[in-house]
């Protein structure tokens, strides 16, 4: 019973965010969770303004492209380090893992200078490039490729597949759960990323949702019901994805948590 109460308290902030986004301005200060006259006026207002729609699209494009890049490269590297014997293998693995010790905050200044000299400031590429591959993903995928029997790979070789085909058509389908877990982490990480997109973007059109929302809330005349609507727009999509893939995501968290 206490657990149930605790759970309700946990979701209260989310519930209030959604409920306030459905309230008329005069009702915002009412502590009732259920709006007296629910309205989607705030959503129409915020979306017609156009900026939120643009930020949503930016976030979506960036998160999707980064996820694809991570799935491809992290698993390619993880597979190579797991299934190929070659000189330098251990060094490459340790070098990649060692980057986990380096906090992003230490890299943002050099990345900014790099972006500035290559003209990447204020571009999609500029927002995306630091996150195209992650050492965590390489480690996770390497762990999972260990469970793919070498016999499968040998058999595919005898069948005349080249190494790329073996990886793509034989090994990859066998680690689908790991790929799904990795996809969720990378997507969520990029969807909610704030510090680097804040630094690298200057023009309002290129903001991602978190950066846009942050500035939007600061406009002195913006009302709380509109801020809650903006917050809901940046949160509800991930909540829907979660509700659909719940079991899957929780298993992914456990796998990633325990392997990482």
């Amino acid at each position: 019973m206490l657990l149930f109460l605790g759970g309700i308290i946990m979701v209260m902030p989310i519930a209030y965010m959604i409920s306030t986004s459905l309230k008329w301005p005069h009702e915002v200060y009412n502590v009732n969770l259920i709006p007296e006259e629910p309205t989607i006026e705030n959503y129409t207002y915020v979306l017609e303004d156009g900026r939120f729609y643009g930020w949503f699209v930016n976030s979506l494009i960036i998160a999707v492209l980064t996820t694809i890049s991570n799935l491809f490269f992290d698993s390619l590297v993880g597979y190579t380090l797991c299934k190929f014997k070659f000189p330098g293998r251990q060094i490459v693995f340790i070098a990649i893992l060692s980057t986990l010790m380096i906090p992003t905050e230490m890299l943002v200044i050099p990345w900014y200078l790099m972006s500035q000299s290559f003209g990447w400031l204020d571009t999609y590429w500029g927002i995306m490039f630091p996150g195209l591959m992650t050492a965590f993903g390489v480690f996770l995928m390497k762990q999972f490729f260990e469970s793919v029997p070498d016999d499968f790979i040998e058999a595919a070789r005898i069948d005349g597949l080249n190494e790329f085909q073996i990886w793509w058509t034989v090994a990859m389908p066998l680690v689908r759960p790991a790929l799904a877990a990795l996809a969720i982490f990378v997507f969520l990480g990029n969807w909610t990323a704030f510090l680097w997109p804040l630094i690298v973007t200057n023009s309002v059109e290129l903001y991602t949702l978190p950066v846009g929302l942050s500035g939007f809330g600061d406009e002195a005349d913006v009302a709380w019901e509109l801020i809650m609507t903006g917050a809901a727009i940046s949160t509800i999509p991930t909540l829907i994805v979660f509700l659909i893939f719940q079991r899957f995501i929780i298993r992914g968290v456990v796998m990633a948590g325990l392997k990482g």
Partner: protein
């Protein structure tokens, strides 16, 4: 020509072909910038003028900067309040949730949902909660039962815990899930044996559960400490009118780095701060791993 290679040589060629792009990526986007951050920390540069070498000047300046020490203490307050509280709460939830059979999945979902939210969005939601009457939810609730208002974000003593609360809240779900996985991994035969011996739940908890959860606890402590030491999104968004305020009461190291680099454009000084952050993270994770692994 490729056909003439031995099988082993072909393997090596394939391996490096697969690794070519990633190796370039890690060298250019990870290793070079790391070195670069160290180099810039020994320079003086405002992004427009010339770069000049200043040796340890940036570090000396940092040592003598009262704002830095305030920020340093704040950062450790986030860590030293946030980590134990979230560890304890998430353990209690996981311990009880593990025993619940009815509506287990639904309850787990309630606790996990906040983890799926965006820190920026939730910082604004909580910021709204903390506003004074008539805007803020918490103060409205207090007012309706006749309790005087609390200044959450405008007080130098209340602001830091007020900013920390949503960060703890958002991370609980993840820790609960990891704890539950750890609890599941403990063989039930241990508990059965204990029950046959007539051992009470407290002894079971302290003699079986907690010792066997050690690896899980190590993981969660390290993971959440690193998170609190790097806190930024929550603080920045809850104090945008006066970042890190009031009077630097909530400013963590990452926010100081951000302002030094991208508001004051003092690149060398900011880089020196990032090096300090890196060293703190390194030392804290090494100490914790050592402490929790011994005995």
């Amino acid at each position: 020509m490729f056909k003439n290679l031995t099988i082993r040589q072909k393997q090596i060629a394939w391996a490096w072909a697969f690794l070519a792009v990633p190796v370039i990526f890690y060298v250019v986007i990870r290793f070079y910038p790391t070195g670069n951050a160290f180099v810039i920390s020994f320079q003086e540069w405002n992004l427009l003028g010339t770069r000049s070498w200043t040796g340890l000047d940036n570090y000396v300046k940092l040592w003598n900067d009262p704002v830095f020490w305030k920020v340093f203490i704040n950062t450790f307050e986030y860590l030293l309040i946030g980590t134990p509280i979230s560890l304890l709460i998430s353990f209690i939830i996981a311990y009880h949730l593990d025993k619940v059979r009815t509506a287990h999945g639904f309850l787990r979902m309630l606790y996990f949902l906040p983890f799926m939210t965006s820190a920026v969005a939730m910082a604004w939601v909580w910021r709204w909660f903390y506003q004074p009457v008539p805007t803020g939810l918490f103060n409205n609730m207090l007012a309706s039962v006749g309790i005087p208002q609390i200044a959450f974000l405008n007080s130098t003593t209340n602001a830091l815990p007020a900013v920390l609360a949503p960060a703890v809240w958002a991370g609980l779900g993840f820790q609960v899930i990891i704890f539950m996985a750890g609890l599941r991994a403990i063989p039930t035969s241990y508990y059965e044996a204990a029950r046959i011996d007539g051992v009470g739940w407290w002894t079971q908890l302290t003699q079986i559960t907690i010792p066997l959860l050690r690896p899980t606890i190590v993981f969660i402590v390290v993971f959440s400490s690193i998170g609190f030491l790097r806190i930024f999104d929550h603080v920045f968004n809850m104090t945008t009118n006066n970042p890190g305020g009031p009077l630097n009461a909530t400013k963590p190291l990452v926010l100081m780095i951000y302002e030094t680099a991208f508001s004051s454009f003092d690149m060398g000084y900011a880089a020196a701060q990032t090096v300090v952050l890196f060293l703190i993270l390194l030392v804290v994770s090494l100490i914790q791993l050592r402490l929790l692994r011994s005995d």
